[in-house]
Symmetry: C2
Subunit: 225 residues, 2 copies
Amino acid sequence: MHVKWFLTHDGGFMARVIDLTRTIEAKMPVFPGDPEVDFFSHHTHEATGYCVSRFAMGTHTGTHIDVPLHKIASGMPVDEIPLERMMGRAVIADLRDLKKNEEISIKHLEAWENELKDCSILILKTGWSEHFGRDDFFCGFNGISQEAAEWLSRKKLSMVGLESPSVHPVTHQRIHQIFLKSNVLVVETLCNLESVKQTTVQFFALPLKLKGLDGSPIRAFAVEE
Amino acid sequence: MHVKWFLTHDGGFMARVIDLTRTIEAKMPVFPGDPEVDFFSHHTHEATGYCVSRFAMGTHTGTHIDVPLHKIASGMPVDEIPLERMMGRAVIADLRDLKKNEEISIKHLEAWENELKDCSILILKTGWSEHFGRDDFFCGFNGISQEAAEWLSRKKLSMVGLESPSVHPVTHQRIHQIFLKSNVLVVETLCNLESVKQTTVQFFALPLKLKGLDGSPIRAFAVEE
């Protein structure tokens, strides 16, 4: 089978690639209590003829993935998750009509049940990424209700993707546990979803292969055909 | 166009995804003079109910990408490279018959010229990844000759991918400059190429979106159809 849409990177490229990743920069906002992001110059063009930098950050910085070890002591670390789990056909559920602080419940998700049959990933387009950098980004978002999290876990999804920095502003511990115990990976702090026009896309969430760690910043993108 | 091979992540998945990324771990071997890799525990299950780690490393750790800023002070940083540049159809050139220290010359590459016409990426399968962790990994590999680097740059490739940690064990400064001045991105320290059976594949090299930096560790993989 010849997949034309990845034939070449320019003229012959027959798909639209949409970057859904927030840029990582020193001292960017991070989840309260998480490590800061630091960049350091290591080799410079002047001194060595080439530039090498050092960077330090937390595993849940910017656009990132939560894997079972994040919440479960015996859970799988990020380097052991097969790559196939972190890509696949995704539904982009438009939930931008939700009120501030309204919980995402089963009734909001049922509208997308038909599309979900052919997909392994659900992405909740709430518009929350607009709040990045504001005071309320880490606390005022639409959380996923316990019933909705359980409903999604029963669907045996591979991943759930969010614009918010967590799954719930209050009961995040409980909701994380529901997803990660069911082996549903959670992608947080997606951005640029307003550029996605299709209801279903190919979605990729590629973490660093960090041995034994509980998550990783990712490069996330959608491909529209 | 309905791309079946990414329909679902399990039963319906009609392609083979091959991870070409070396696992990143604390104190792993790095290019001489580069920053060490460090992992730190930050939040623990016992103390906070969830696990978050901090990690620090150089921009050229493990399987990574070199972008123009690595060698050219006014060159493009990694966060500004469009994602389309870091994926596409690739030729896997089998060069495992080369002798130790033999330079990769135009004559070795000309055999793949026909396949390259439909591809934007060239990957040199030299078998060198077997040497990772041995004393000679950073110094004994097959370098790309100046003429071969210029020949490849004239092909206007998007990327060149290597199993070795650099483009040449001796004249790496000069060879990097040829590629990066021509805007050919360089991927280094690929592994697991022996698992790739096809001559052409879809290749992906996804870096972190690190603002203003000179490269990044990547998640690299091939998709066979």
